[in-house]
Subunit: 117 residues, 2 copies
DNA sequence: TTGATACATGTCACTAATGGAATATAATGC
DNA sequence: GCATTATATTCCATTAGTGACATGTATCAA
């Protein structure tokens, strides 16, 4: 059976950015479009490694690619950050909604003897 | 040698949220503090599994824990969302700064014949 | 103390993913 | 055509991580 695709599910964005090396590749693209060789040079990683990481990032849509001559220029693909943004927003909201309760908790923890003193 | 700690490095928060099951555990805590058994019941995962995931989340600081009787109440730890916020902000800014260039690119791609028509 | 509950930890098998080296493909230049 | 550059892909060994089961530890109850 095993019909579930496990390569480019939207939630795999989380997996894609989980590896430090992959975030380094993304970082290298922050300054703009770059060829694979440039990334290899900037990060001193092996070329196959960079290509493989780019492939993963490409599959989940975090980078896109356009061929120019015999090179391939990769660049960040803004749209695919959305699942991550939404995920984060959900927690930010939940935590803001409960700030008062957290406050209570902190008071309790920091003054275990209570307020009499 | 191998002196590098690899358990609670700050960037491992990205690794912590990479697994769907771990995000489910975090989701279960959105409504507030919960005991391990409650999470086990809500998610129908095995108790050791939940405990292990909580351990990972705890090591990177995404959840905190306080013992109450023979139970342990876990809750989200807001402060550790900061690495995500910072990481995301970096990319959002970089992408906004380059929106015009992206625009150029899209025009180029969508009109491969140029503007003479 | 004994027993029961709530949780943590250890062990193990298995899978998946990484990184390295070699090789394949594609485009350019001659 | 052939050689070279740029990148992708395959193969392989190693490793890390997951999940299942069993066991350990701590707290409560009687």
């Amino acid at each position: 059976m095993r019909l579930m695709a496990r390569s480019s599910a939207p939630s795999d964005v989380f997996n894609a950015i989980a590896k430090p090396h992959r975030r380094e590749v993304l970082d290298a693209l922050i300054t703009g479009e770059k060829a694979v060789g440039t990334i290899v040079h900037d990060l001193s990683m092996s070329q196959p490694q960079v290509s493989k990481h780019l492939r993963v990032l490409s599959k989940v849509g975090l980078v896109s690619c356009r061929p120019v001559g015999r090179r391939r220029l990769y660049r960040l693909a803004p749209a695919r950050l959305q699942p991550f943004q939404e995920w984060l927003a959900k927690y930010e909201q939940a935590l803001n909604d409960r700030l008062d309760r957290v406050d209570d908790y902190l008071r309790e923890v920091q003054q275990p003897q209570g307020e009499r003193q």
